[in-house]
């Protein structure tokens, strides 16, 4: 049974699961302290690419419900293999499983995690010449030929792209201004939600103050902290369950991800016109997910065939119609623009990708300084 777009049950989104599914995964990974170690990560070149030939069933490791079931089914039917699925609910959880030696054929890391996994030699090279549809993402002049997180695009193939902005209820709030200040909206006082996500929350305040979204300078972090604490009187909660908070009527203004918004408006809302989305003018965080093949994958050939299958424009369109996140597959882009026609702010253009507001891989001391600020904001 394929849930068609427009199915009316609230679906647990992977974003919701990111924190909604909680640290259940992370806490499960705790007893296995397998990755308490002291050897420094290496920067050796990745092992060579596999050929795109079926070499067994596909051991698939992704966020829950993060590809159209019809596409997974189509792949199994066409190639006569099974997809053995398991899920993670946070990047930390995914990383812990990989580091503990679990073997997967394909994973779907967020950009900065591609960088980390590559740096540590945990990913196998992916040779575009092996993929019939590689020109759909690696055409001349494509941003993804040399993305910041994977120099020379050696170990990853782009999967989805998205941005973070503000969704709101047009029937409740009329005074939106196109700025991140709208998260301090007076009309929506007590019904504003900020994403329960360290990077996203700090980035929103940093953009408002004109700082880098990755800042870890103590003086800037201090200002960010004050700004975020000043927001708490407007706030109902910190939550990443953005779709459900909006559908349930709890949120009137919600800091949210573009794809989640589009799914909410096009796929769930009884009255789509009651919802709108803006990408604030101070700039918005842009992020992307990628396909990657771990070094110790048992069936890297099948994984290559699978990636190639997902790059077919018709499959990318099926996935977009299910997930509402744009896929940077060339011949599928017009279909997404059509999907996002009513709310162009949800679309992610190539020019958006070239902006500087990406979440970079930071050193531990930087992450910990940022975490300390975020803790104080949430605890105060």
């Amino acid at each position: 049974m394929t849930p068609a777009p427009g199915h009316d049950h609230p679906r647990c989104t992977r974003r919701g699961l990111l924190t909604g599914g909680l640290a259940v995964g992370a806490s499960l990974s705790l007893p296995g302290c397998a990755y308490i170690r002291d050897d420094a990560p290496t920067d050796t070149p990745p092992p060579p690419s596999a050929k795109a030939e079926i070499d067994g069933d596909l051991v698939y490791f992704n966020w829950a419900d993060y590809l159209a079931p019809s596409v997974l089914k189509g792949f199994q039917k066409e190639y006569g293999v099974r997809v053995i699925e398991s899920n993670y609910d946070s990047m930390e959880g995914m990383y812990a499983k990989l580091a503990a030696g679990n073997r997967y054929d394909i994973v779907f890391p967020i950009a900065k995690w591609v960088q980390r996994l590559r740096k540590e030699g945990k990913l196998r090279a992916i040779e575009p010449d092996e993929l019939q549809n590689a020109d759909q993402v690696f055409y001349s002049g494509s941003y993804f030929n040399d993305p910041w997180y994977d120099e020379g695009s050696q170990v990853s193939v782009p999967f989805t792209v998205y941005k973070t902005g503000i969704g709101w209820r047009t029937d409740k709030v009329s005074s939106m201004t196109g700025s991140w200040e709208d998260l301090w909206n007076e009309e929506a006082r007590g019904r504003v939600f900020t994403l329960d996500d360290q990077d996203e929350a700090l980035a929103m305040a940093a953009l408002l103050l004109g700082y880098d979204v990755n800042t870890s300078k103590p003086s800037e972090l201090e200002e960010i902290k004050k700004l975020l604490i000043s927001q708490k009187q407007y706030l109902r909660a910190y939550s990443s369950d953005d779709i459900n908070n909006m559908v349930a009527g709890d949120a009137w203004v919600h800091h949210m991800w573009s794809g989640d918004f589009l799914y909410l408006r096009q796929g769930l809302a009884e009255d789509p016109d009651a919802f709108d989305f803006e990408a604030p003018r101070e700039g918005v965080p842009i992020n992307s997910d990628a396909y990657a093949i771990p070094t110790d994958a048992e069936h890297p050939g099948t994984a290559m065939v699978f990636i190639d299958y997902l790059l077919r424009p018709e499959n990318a369109i099926k996935n977009m119609n299910y997930l509402y996140y744009p896929f940077p597959v060339r011949d599928a882009l017009p279909a997404f623009a059509e999907l996002a026609d009513a709310v162009p702010a949800c679309n992610v253009e190539v020019s958006d990708l070239e902006n500087e507001n990406v979440f970079r891989l930071l050193g531990s001391d930087e992450v910990q300084r940022r975490a300390a600020v975020w803790t104080e904001v949430k605890a105060s």
Binding site: T19, G20, G21, L22, A23, V24, A26, S27, L30, P31, C33, Y35, I36, R37, D38, A40, P41, S90, E92, R116, K119, E120, G190, D196, D197, Q198, D199, K232, L235, R236, A237, Y238, D241, N244, V247, A248, G249, D250, G363, S364, D365, V367, Q368, A371, A372, W374, T375, E376, K378, A379, S380
Partner: protein, 293 residues
């Protein structure tokens, strides 16, 4: 009357002792491997640090234990204790009448009723919290009902301290019901009858006979509810608001986004130390009482 000495204990053969030892070896090894060693790691990791690439490593620094002396953490601890105490009180108010009704008036349906109390708790705590979220949201079932019946404009239940405490009560009340039920089951009904014979009304009989006789069930239940409620992070995360962050959330954050396992472990050890102190105080109080009675 003839004074009865203790019955002579059957002497265990050496063979049987050996058998018991062998049988105990497996669970002991299991406990050592998965409980003691992981505990040791949690206690030692706070002396460590995180490498620049995000790996926790052991070391000899006191920084993480020192970092526990922080106003923000202290405030969260106090808040968590208050929520947990409120949870205990509410759970007792719900659990005692429930257990009482089942134990003393359940008749032949007793076991079925207890099963009816326990079975919903087979469903994952997480799922039950999500269900509450759906139930209590502004456009959820409860508020739609309120609006439909003209009882006002609905109430913003969610994202308040009471929603968090409610979630904790719902999550853990069964741990209070069962021990109280067990102690009521053991209650000698003739004591209650004696109270009535001495011209106590039902209320006074309850407070001077039934309640004191079942207090250990109540204490045990209070402890079983208090401990998980204090460390919980699910309820605050799903039902809480911007100002209901608890200790459990703080610890969880260190292990996830915060990338600071050593600090998270230090917080865990700090919590355990505080809880152990509370436990010891409780055990000493009850054992003194037991000696006095």
């Amino acid at each position: 009357m003839v004074a009865l000495g203790p019955a002579p204990a059957p002497r265990r053969s050496a063979q049987r002792t050996w058998l018991w030892g062998a049988l105990l070896a497996v669970p002991t090894a299991w406990m050592v491997a998965f409980f003691v060693i992981s505990m040791v790691i949690v206690v030692l990791l706070p002396f460590g640090r995180t490498t620049n690439d995000g790996f926790p490593v052991f070391s000899t620094s006191l920084d993480n234990y020192r970092a526990l002396w922080n106003d923000v953490y202290l405030e969260l601890f106090v808040r968590s204790v208050l929520y947990a105490l409120a949870t205990v009180v509410l759970s007792a108010l719900i659990a005692y009448p429930t257990a009482y009704a089942i134990a003393l008036h359940g008749g032949r349906y007793k076991n079925a009723l207890i099963a009816a109390v326990v079975v919903p708790f087979f469903a994952s705590y997480l799922i039950r919290m999500y269900a509450w979220k759906a139930l209590l949201s502004d456009d959820g079932l409860v508020n739609s009902g309120l609006r439909g019946s003209g009882l006002g404009d609905g109430i913003a239940f969610l994202n308040t301290p009471w929603a968090v405490i409610g979630g904790l009560v719902y999550g853990f009340v069964v741990f209070m019901i069962l021990p109280i039920y067990a102690s009521l089951e053991r209650l000698d009904v003739s004591l209650v009858e004696a109270g009535k014979d001495l011209y106590h009304g039902p209320v006074r009989t309850f407070f001077s006979v039934t309640l004191p006789a079942t207090r250990y069930g109540l204490y045990g239940g209070a402890l079983l509810v208090f401990l998980p409620a204090l460390g919980d992070f699910v309820s605050a995360q799903l039902l809480g608001g911007a100002g209901t962050y608890m200790m459990g959330n703080l610890v969880q954050q260190q292990f996830n986004e915060g990338q600071n396992w050593p600090l998270g472990s230090a917080m865990t050890v700090g919590m355990m130390a505080a809880l152990t102190a509370l436990m010891v105080a409780y055990l000493r109080a009850t054992s003194t009482q037991a000696r006095e009675t």
